[in-house]
């Protein structure tokens, strides 16, 4: 019996052994998590957040270009898989939960969130200098502003939410004007931070030769990119003087190529995004075609038409729409897509100058575009009168910024949607905004 009594103790010890296995705090074995990343972040972690933020700017940007490009009648997309490209997007009978409404919007705010996490993590990082922190924050705010602007471009007068720092307590939807003002402020904050960021970033924006920020990869030059975006927002806000100032602080110059600027770096490869705006000429199936008016309205011998379009072996017709030309702005899946370039800034300079009565600067800028980008002669219309210069400026924007998502926004800014959007078929319409996404409606209690 004595042995048995001893056994009892062994058993109790065994039970305690099993029981004393306190469970460790579980960490995700597969990924960094929101509960770990913002705490005591190192420069390496912050740099990962920078790359993640930049990379997601690319996601569904193509969908944005399709949506606003078709809305602005820059191109058609014929897709056997999805009739909505020749349906909803031309009829204006838009769905608040369809890909063209939600996809880009969702990703833009995901970039904003990732950048917010970057700001949070950098601010609380014990390991890096204040100037380096300012560099991270300046970059994050600049990118956030850009992404909000893209979301707002599609939403137009619906307005958007700009105060989204706390994802559990989102700010209200604000009007388009208020949103633009908030984006300006965010850009200014970013610019201030970049100004305090010292000589260099702790991260590299140009680890690859195809990077979209070559020449814009220091706090100073990234600040010029920030001002470039600010200039775009100021002309949207019709704050012409500020626009001119911002252009002057940006990289705009007549001494550098018009193509110089910031780009989305698309690339083939595992885990990378390809430039799906490229479709090989004369493809069949899922294709994009130049809207006929772009060809019809062009000045003779405009080099941009040559560059951006190519006649097909045979025209394609879909639901009473016919296209004769493929879009050749991009020549491979690896081509970068512009975010903002010297060409747009020069056009912004022209626009702001017209609006402030400085026709000389305006005409000079327009002629630079006409000659260098379009291979055309100087502007032959009246140069002492605002109206024809505005027409010319919008026309140059149409051709220089073709397939970059500007046409529809420009026509909206100048209230020309109803007059300048060609209606190809009975039932098609010109519309000025996409519906607010369904998931936002639900959250806002308006549905």
């Amino acid at each position: 019996m004595k042995n048995i009594n001893n056994l009892k103790y062994y058993f109790i010890i065994l039970v305690l052994l099993v029981a004393s296995c306190n469970l460790d705090e579980e960490v995700d074995p597969n990924r960094p998590t929101l509960s770990s990343v913002p705490v005591d972040a190192t420069a390496a972690t912050l740099n990962n957040l920078v790359a993640g933020t930049l990379s997601n700017m690319l996601t569904n940007y193509v969908t944005y270009i399709d949506a606003v490009g078709i809305a602005g009648r820059e191109h058609y997309r014929f897709s056997p898989a999805d009739p909505r490209f020749v349906g909803d997007l031309l009829t204006g009978n838009l769905d608040n939960n369809a890909f063209y409404t939600t996809n880009s919007y969702t990703e833009r705010y995901q970039v904003v969130r990732n950048a917010e996490i970057l700001i949070d993590a950098a601010t609380n990082s014990p390991f890096i200098a204040d100037s380096a922190i300012a560099g991270y924050i300046g970059l994050a705010q600049t990118i956030q502003a850009h992404e909000l602007l893209i979301a707002l471009n599609q939403q137009g007068e619906n307005g958007i939410r700009v105060d989204v720092a706390d994802f559990e307590n989102l700010g209200p939807f604000v009007s388009e004007d208020e949103a633009l003002a908030a984006i300006s402020t965010l850009l200014q904050d970013g610019f201030t931070n970049l100004s305090n960021a010292g000589e260099g970033f702790l991260f590299t924006l140009t680890a690859s030769t195809t990077s979209g920020f070559i020449g814009l990869n220091t706090p100073e030059t990234f600040g010029q990119f920030n001002r470039a975006l600010a200039a775009r927002v100021f002309v949207y806000r019709e704050l012409w003087e500020q626009a001119i100032t911002a252009v002057s602080q940006s990289f705009q110059s007549s001494n550098i190529p018009l193509e110089f600027g910031a780009y989305y770096d698309f690339e083939q490869g595992a885990g990378l995004l390809q430039n799906q705006l490229f479709i090989a000429p004369n493809s069949s199936g899922d294709i994009r075609l130049v809207h006929p008016d772009f060809l019809n309205d062009a000045e003779a011998n405009d080099a941009r038409v040559e560059r951006f379009t190519q006649i097909r072996d045979s025209p394609v017709t879909n639901t009473n729409l016919t296209g004769t030309h493929d879009i050749t702005r991009y020549s491979s899946l690896n081509d970068n897509i512009p975010i903002i370039t010297n060409e747009e800034l020069t056009l912004i300079l022209a626009e702001a100058s017209i609006q402030t009565g400085d026709f000389t600067t305006a005409v000079s800028a327009l002629n630079e575009i006409r000659q260098e980008s379009g291979g055309l002669g100087e502007f032959s219309g009246p140069t002492d009168n605002e109206a024809p210069l505005i027409d010319e400026m919008l026309n140059q924007r149409r051709y220089s910024l073709y397939f970059l998502g500007h046409r529809w926004v420009d026509l909206r800014r100048y209230n020309r949607l109803s007059t300048d959007i060609p209606i190809d078929r009975a039932g098609d319409t010109a519309y000025d905004r996409f519906p607010r996404p369904l998931q936002e409606e639900i959250a806002d209690g308006t549905n």
Binding site: L23, D28, N30, R31, L49, A51, T106, N114, E116
Partner: protein
Amino acid sequence: MKYINILIISLLLFSVNGFAQSLTVKGKVTDPATGDPLTGVNVIEKGTVNGTITDIEGNYQISLKNAENAVLVYSFIGYITQEIDVNGQSVINPELSSDVLNLEEVVVTGLATNVKRSNLANAVSTVSSEKLTGTTSPQTLDKALYGKLTGANIVANSGAPGGGISIKLRGISTLGGGSSEPLYIIDGVYIDNSAISNGSNTATAASAGGSVISSTQDNPSNRIADLNPDDIASVEILKGASASAIYGARANAGVVIITTKKGSDGKTKISYSQDLGFASILNPLGTRAVSHDNAFDVGGAGAVEAFDNALVNNSLVNYEDELYGNVGFITRSNLSASGGDDKTKFFTSISYDDEDGIVDGTGFDRFSARLNVDHRVSKVFDFGVNANYIQSSAQRSITNNDNSGVSIGISLINTTPWDNLFPDADGIFPNGPSGSNFLQTVALSTVNEETDRFVLGGNLNINFFNKEDSYLQAKLQAGLDAYTTETTLFFPEILQFQQAGPTATNGLFSRGDNTIFNYNLSAFLVYGSKISDFDLTTSVGITRLDFNQNRTTTQAQNLVSGTSNLSQATNLSTFDAELESVDVGYVIQQELNYLDRIILTGGVRADQSTLIGDEDELFFFPKGSAAFNLHNFDFWNVPIIDKLKVRFAYGEAGGIPVPNLVTLNQPQFTGFAGSNISGSTGSLISNTLGDPNIEPERSREIETGFDLAAFDNKLSFTATYYRKTVDDLILTANQPTSSGFSFIQTNAGELRNEGVELSLTAIPIQNKNINWEVTTNWWFNNPEVTRLDVDPFTTGAFASFLGIFRIQEGQSPTEIVGPIPGSDGDVPLGDATPDFEWSIYNKVTFFQDFEFSMLWHWAEGQENIQLTNLLSDFGGTSPDFDADNDGNGVSNGDQRVGAFFAGNDASVFVEDASYVKLREISLYYTLPSAWVDSFSKGTIERIKVGVSGNNLVLFTDYTGYDPEVSNFGNNGVSVGVDVAPFPSSRRAFFHLKIDF
């Protein structure tokens, strides 16, 4: 409890022999059905520890302690216990009836204790070895359970060889956040039942455009398929929380407790069985009738000429037959031995199954070796070890959804009879006209999964003391389930879909290495005592589960011609996912038995787990039950009714937040995905917000019913009603996207399953010549979402215009919705839950040597989302393309294609999937023993031969291959989505079984 006492007492009796007393009773115990003597029957003087067992001739002799009022109790496993008043007789020759109704069966209900079925307060379904594998040769354990228990909805995901079965007990218990499948425990070892993706998504682009390697759509086996059904002695199914509460936070979807065979003392028995069989397609669909006149409609330009030429050359081909027409050869061999003495008992088996599928090159094979040993060291110690090694492999080809023309099913339906897909004299395959040449795919591709698995269980019992009125026992148990599953895909560069097409990469070689290492430990103390008329059993214990998974798949593209090596390629991509989890549970349970009249059980389990948001928080799962054996009360005086038990049970169980089936990401985390740009490695926040406070789903179930046995135990009837609510459902709810998140995973809903289960077993005829046993089960389950804290959402299929499942308060969670012409949004179109299921099992033994059995299974009223027809319509080949079922003047094919493009009529894709299947049928003959004896000179005890069939007959109006189908595999809500699946097969066998 009483049973345990008897068991323990009878164990003691081996060493305690004979007390000199006044009266001795002797006799012989026999089976009335056969007249054979019964060896090893326990004979016990009631109320004492005095007893003996019968010898090999069935004889016994017992000296009574208390001659006056003595009652002898005769008990034997598989037979109904009999009590006989001695009344001064000195010779008693009882006949023990076999326990067809399983009243005597012992059911495992606690983690450390058992209870006799007749005292059970829950409707626990048990499937015996006889019912499981006695009729025909099921491929896998889960496929052997169809129709054999109430309350279970069992659906095959496809007809591909080797597993892929979804079992839902008492309806769905989760909307995807918890485990949708029951917990499997075999001899105390928690068994992993993962379904591991083979990575073919890269080729099929079924999910996310092929950008991810692993998906749920590539038709994987679930790993319960590894178990050899022939090793199993019984399967008990705890269907709801009221029975499974003691298993705690993982028992929401029920628990399947598997007990493997054990040896018994006496002569060593050796059995050899050999099955030979064939598998062939169960339900070929045919193809659209083609003619000169409709060839253009089918194939477009050029088709008419091609048809005419093929007609002249007699080269129109039935491609369905070419692809699915293979007759698969099946062989199953099993050798087992069991035996032992009073100290050591063993069971060992070796089996090899090899089965070819109906598609060339597909198949399933499994080698399994097992050794079970139980040893009694002393009165104090006994232990057991169960060891099982399995090697299984399956070749399941590429079927199901596909967006790249790769899946053989999709290619088939895009092929017209005049196309030529056959290789030329040099063995070069021509390109298929639409989709990849599937004959080439089948001939040249490798799709293989191979598993090496060890399942080891050990238990040690320590009997601290064992007195007449009390005992104390410790039960220690350890289990290990460790396996590696290697998946291999090889698509050589000469394949059409590797040369051109959306996923062409000039050859693809993929190797997946998946390591699963699970172990569990438990320690229990059981204290039993007898206080006057009450038997009390108290158990306390602790359990620990450690589940670990490592899944990696590496894929190489742009292969060096002809090679299948990861290093002979230009592009490599990798999938890597890991899971580690620890659960700890604390259990206390009290049982009380008053003279087998009133049996009360109460208990509580507390669980903590690293998969729960707060890993230190204990979640409590209480239970309580009461059973009243009315017939044991003195007032009971109904002659016809032998037994009547009414029972009530309540229990709670948990559904632990399960990681994503593919990525293994846990819902408590908000993770960052890799997202790279310009040569820099990036981290991008997930679009799904995790919930750091996530809790287990919790089901609460009440169950009540009665069990009745009548007419000398020749008829039993069981009726059960249950109502199971599952609260704190983990849902993926929409977020306002401006938060940067699209979804949030959180506890946000409740659903309810309510149902009735009826089971009737009868022995209408029982005599020397004919023994007829019939069991019929009928059950239904009625699910409803009773609370939804988030907005209604659709899930589990492709798009609402194709039919999709909608989760909406007040509706069934398996409701299928979609638009119909003129409707404002989506309207209900069907439900994947059957209205009821019904099965009938008959077994007739005649002249003692012939045995005929048959199992029919009827599932009525469920609907499927049938998209195979639509895909066939696109190829112009659907068999019913030209018919006009609804008589609206538009052919079915045109109507479906029209509905697809208009996106306004999902009703054409939602189809009734009711069916009646002949699950199993068999006829066995046992050769005359005298003949066998003389022929084998006494070495062979018995030879049994037979023929059987599995899924031989299917009656259904459903237009697909099989109404049982699931494109998305095992999934909480999504079943019955039909996208060019692997067709199911019928299997027929010849059996030979020799006992030595």
